[in-house]
Symmetry: D2
Subunit: 414 residues, 4 copies
Amino acid sequence: MSTTDKELRVGMVGYAFMGAAHSQAWRTVNRVYDLPARARMALICGRDTGKVADAADRLGWDAYTTDWRDLISRDDIDVVDVCTPGDSHAEIALAALAAGKHVLCEKPLANTVAEARAMTAAAAAAQAAGVRSMCGFNYRRVPAVTMMRQLVADGRLGVIRHVRAAYLQDWIVDPQFPLVWRLQKDRAGSGALGDIGAHIIDLTQFVTGQRITGVSAVTETFVKERPLPAGSSGLAATVDGSGSLDGSGSLDGNGPATGPVTVDDAAVFVARLDGGALATYEASRFATGRKNALRVEINGSLGSVVFDLERLNELEFYDATRPSAEQGFSRILVTEGEHPYMSAWWPPGHIIGYEHSFTHQMRDFIEAVATGSDPAPSFADALQVQLVLDAVTRSAEIGSSWTEVEPALAAVAV
Amino acid sequence: MSTTDKELRVGMVGYAFMGAAHSQAWRTVNRVYDLPARARMALICGRDTGKVADAADRLGWDAYTTDWRDLISRDDIDVVDVCTPGDSHAEIALAALAAGKHVLCEKPLANTVAEARAMTAAAAAAQAAGVRSMCGFNYRRVPAVTMMRQLVADGRLGVIRHVRAAYLQDWIVDPQFPLVWRLQKDRAGSGALGDIGAHIIDLTQFVTGQRITGVSAVTETFVKERPLPAGSSGLAATVDGSGSLDGSGSLDGNGPATGPVTVDDAAVFVARLDGGALATYEASRFATGRKNALRVEINGSLGSVVFDLERLNELEFYDATRPSAEQGFSRILVTEGEHPYMSAWWPPGHIIGYEHSFTHQMRDFIEAVATGSDPAPSFADALQVQLVLDAVTRSAEIGSSWTEVEPALAAVAV
Amino acid sequence: MSTTDKELRVGMVGYAFMGAAHSQAWRTVNRVYDLPARARMALICGRDTGKVADAADRLGWDAYTTDWRDLISRDDIDVVDVCTPGDSHAEIALAALAAGKHVLCEKPLANTVAEARAMTAAAAAAQAAGVRSMCGFNYRRVPAVTMMRQLVADGRLGVIRHVRAAYLQDWIVDPQFPLVWRLQKDRAGSGALGDIGAHIIDLTQFVTGQRITGVSAVTETFVKERPLPAGSSGLAATVDGSGSLDGSGSLDGNGPATGPVTVDDAAVFVARLDGGALATYEASRFATGRKNALRVEINGSLGSVVFDLERLNELEFYDATRPSAEQGFSRILVTEGEHPYMSAWWPPGHIIGYEHSFTHQMRDFIEAVATGSDPAPSFADALQVQLVLDAVTRSAEIGSSWTEVEPALAAVAV
Amino acid sequence: MSTTDKELRVGMVGYAFMGAAHSQAWRTVNRVYDLPARARMALICGRDTGKVADAADRLGWDAYTTDWRDLISRDDIDVVDVCTPGDSHAEIALAALAAGKHVLCEKPLANTVAEARAMTAAAAAAQAAGVRSMCGFNYRRVPAVTMMRQLVADGRLGVIRHVRAAYLQDWIVDPQFPLVWRLQKDRAGSGALGDIGAHIIDLTQFVTGQRITGVSAVTETFVKERPLPAGSSGLAATVDGSGSLDGSGSLDGNGPATGPVTVDDAAVFVARLDGGALATYEASRFATGRKNALRVEINGSLGSVVFDLERLNELEFYDATRPSAEQGFSRILVTEGEHPYMSAWWPPGHIIGYEHSFTHQMRDFIEAVATGSDPAPSFADALQVQLVLDAVTRSAEIGSSWTEVEPALAAVAV
């Protein structure tokens, strides 16, 4: 830890999957990186007293509260870390910004474009007062992803022709998997599209430095009715044999109550990027055997790169400027000290895991806040992702017709 | 070779890339398989006397001719093998069928739906007289592909949810690569779409046993003007510094004459299959580093399969009915005697190559002809592929709007 | 964290590469696992006051000391964690055991068999008084490795015929890489053999449940003289342009002083295991391009497994009892909740890294100490590894002649 | 085919696995390559009249004979191709050379060093009369292997430090697999060692340009008694329920007769090469799941290469002179026209198979014979392999003690 005495007192809202991942990162970041400020895990917030108390103890937070408004109103909190489902992002983040707190908000930024626009406007206003905001597209900080962006930025791929992105999971293939919050539109906003599709939209725009301008899309819900859940954590859940969910479930005597799946199981779309690239995107929770397979391939006139999140320490790079008989996809083990973020970790070849992307994110966030600069991705960047999600949804509703992505500045310009 | 004295006298039209591949297969097939008839490489046809004479000598054909009508009119020819560019398929195949010859026609069946419909009708009519016809979608006979179909047919994948197909090459990334016939619409019909996209359309319909019902598509020509070629063979070519091509090239004093690229460099589309699967397709000649990367992944409710033509001896199979802790994609080396077509070849683990798919195709074709059954894929099957290509083209022309694939029976019904 | 109030106060000696890795694990273990005791990072020890003070602050230890004897003598320390180079393991561990402290000692257990025997005897004696000891072969706790052991133990591999193990690195290929302590026999005991060869000896004996009974070996030092180091951390170092190292370096006016490399750069040996398997082992720091490539393949009469530490979340398993046409190496992503150690981490497909093996090790150590059971690997297990290392060294000295591994019980029996 | 009228009339002895592979190559070579002579498949020889007649018909030979001495004595045979088991190589090849025939002899050259020395001496004597001889280590002609040699020869790997070679199969893991000729010392000479170990010895010496100078070895026969075979072809066989084999089998009333396995199931050895490299070799028929896994990795001071025969179209190349952050193993698809042997085949990415290595071998053999140069590997090269096999056998017999490889010139010098 650096010798600085500057402390950033963090208040985190939510303690499930993302809460645990963020906690591990807040706990680790100053132990690994020399930074101009120290994060203090000051306060955790959740609605259930018993559960949040347990979480505070287990995850190592100094205190807990059950009211996020309390968390925001406290003077001894500098940073608000929003780890709740998407339906509460806007309300919490807006309040936090209004209270002058720096905000780190999980992705997707919001459940609707309108919310995202409001958040972006609030962030821009707060910025003038030195308040920082960032959206948690953590995969930007996977070293191999950061390196892909550098290769593109350095011109190593030449003119980008193709982007091929898929984020594939299989955790709801079983039709008996219950109707958890991620399968309910009012909580999650959308299904695979917003949950994992948002990641590949942001990641490919980040890596290429290009923005998606239009899309043609299809979405699908393969299993339209599911049992109501008894409880869930992370992506796992158990089925509840009784009761209903928000009154919408069907109850009969022969089995567990069920309710309608109101989000997409899969979304696929073709897109164009403003630099001329043609792109395909696919997000699905029905890709049997694919657990967390975020895969991206980018082909340019001078080279190509390939990335797979299940092998996140590796980057494949094809350099078409090498002697032709020796060209091939090089499997680069992105674990050397000179690779992004890696000098702080272990010797070459000693791999890191999923959670490290959060530690890297906290590193950059802390540095930005402490030095008075703006971290990326900004809320405006996240709004752009939201606008793509919105175009995808609209295209799917009008028979896949080509649909322009609405400009981010439209509302701001008003 | 079997003890049969029955001989099938083959006349082949064309002697370039496909002609060489077919010759290797005709030469080999009876040396490897016991079949009810022997193929005789009787006659080869090409327009240039010197070149076709050389080809006959080099590839091992008994005789040659420069007139395909001569080839068809001869009594001592049983089979006509059409290996020319797509613009002459219909004329040659229709004449051959009319002359009572069995026809093997390279893919795509034709350059237009109208031609393909006419050929399909002619083939149906000829069938009544015992004349057989087949379209050369050779990849169906890659053992791993045949095995995929068997797994699906046996219910091992359950309900198919996703098809993910791409056929990627990179041989025209260089904008100085010349304007060969494959880049001219009047010769080739279309670009990547018909040349390699047709393969993945046929392959995925074959494997899944489902038909594509509708598409939403985008096509792109990245490099719109190219130098005129001096000559080409296979996929390679050299640039001609002088002259024009069909009068369409531009000539100036500063460089080689150029002409417009009139086909797509890449085509991407989303599709639905009649069994409920959602599919993505991509065909491109601009995927730097991908030489012949036909890749297919199919996800079903009980399992998944993955295939890559660059590793055509391998099949990845994920069986979701195994104990969950042991589930994983199994790399099956499809080289055992019990695998399709393989008992005739080498011991386990001794791999085969691209050309073997043609030998397997000739094996099945000879067997069908000799035993009086119909080989697959039929012209009707190939027409269905043509109809998908047509729907893709139409969708791309109307802003990617969802476009139904026209029924194959429509014209026949008239 | 569990509700227990039981605390294990840890004192760690050493703060370099292993010290950092252990710190991350002590810090994390109770945040992830529910355990019957909590680890407290109480005291860290190093010889240099400034450096150890910095390390305490950075790594998060409550206090520091520069005298390991002080650490051992304190009443408020329950566990001594030995992370120093091998030449001080015996002295520190023996003193700690004598003081009644539970001991976790890094591998290899010692630099000589005599030391390892003494430590094993002391551990056995201390055990009677409820004092626990463990050697830090952390790779046993990589989930895929633990799973391999379970597969073997469950009979899934049948009779084991072959073990094929290599641990390959390349960090000293450059002859200008300096003479760090790991290249000096008096500090490190041996070179690649003891540092990384020890890992594959332990790992393969652990997985197979068999012990190496004899070896035939060759060792090699490719670069016999190297520049003296200015400083080093982890596996990296810089060359010192002046000064000597322990008086053994050569000094001249033309370049940096150099000294002799007194350990092996590579060691290869053939071995037999007591269950009948034939094995090959290779440890090298000269395998260009291999960063941390610990690779193990085990072939049994019913199946095979393959593991690669650079892809530590994956296990390849070949099950020869499956239908023969479907047999293949399955790539199992060992990230499911039902896989060893994984239920506490992230959702399926979200990978872990190198450091997690230490967290798992601390989990098992804490549980054993808190519940009064003996953790594995014991000092006796580590002595067995030391005896194999010794047999390898002796075989290499006598022209590779077959050399029996000395029984572990020999000295104990006296 | 070239316009040459020069013909090489080939007489082949043997028609099993190797006979079929050679036939496919003789049939194909002039159809693919322009060569100064044409091979004519003139005469095939086998002991069983019916079987050899069938083979001649099936494989496409003009005539057959049951007496190899007849084949050698005929004036209309230019080349003798020896495809029999190793016990008859010496007799046939010596007679053929004495008769002035060019000889292509399958590997291993002979079953004993004495035979190999005699053959080498005869080949040297015949060479003076313009008679050519070659041993069939076909894997030298796999394009990726040839390319490896070129990379080494061009200095791209620098000083070679490590060779890691294994040839793994699993076709006799089942103890009920019968006692085919490859498991009988008097026929096969040795087991895995001579059959597949010989390949990796030759291949690594070829690629590195270095010779093995000494070895330390262990061999093992896991299954010591097997059922007598009813018949076998290739590597497959069926068990005979009656009769004995050479009188050595045991007969009882409870099962099929069995006989002793008189060769090794597996051989492992450590070796040194004359350029300073340290090497490990493993040949086994008990590596469950490995069908034909010839794997070689070579590490040099400037780079490394990796090859796997099951993916023979690929070469992995690590170039340590590239920018360090971009270093990685490049998967080169060795299918470009500029790669060795490949310009005659298909477009890039269209892979070749196992049999093509024989076609390449015949290409080089025909060219050498027609142009009056000596093909490689010579009998002297093959003798060197035999001497290594001999050293391995001797080392294994004397407790793995280091054993020098006898110089090839020793006998010649007498």
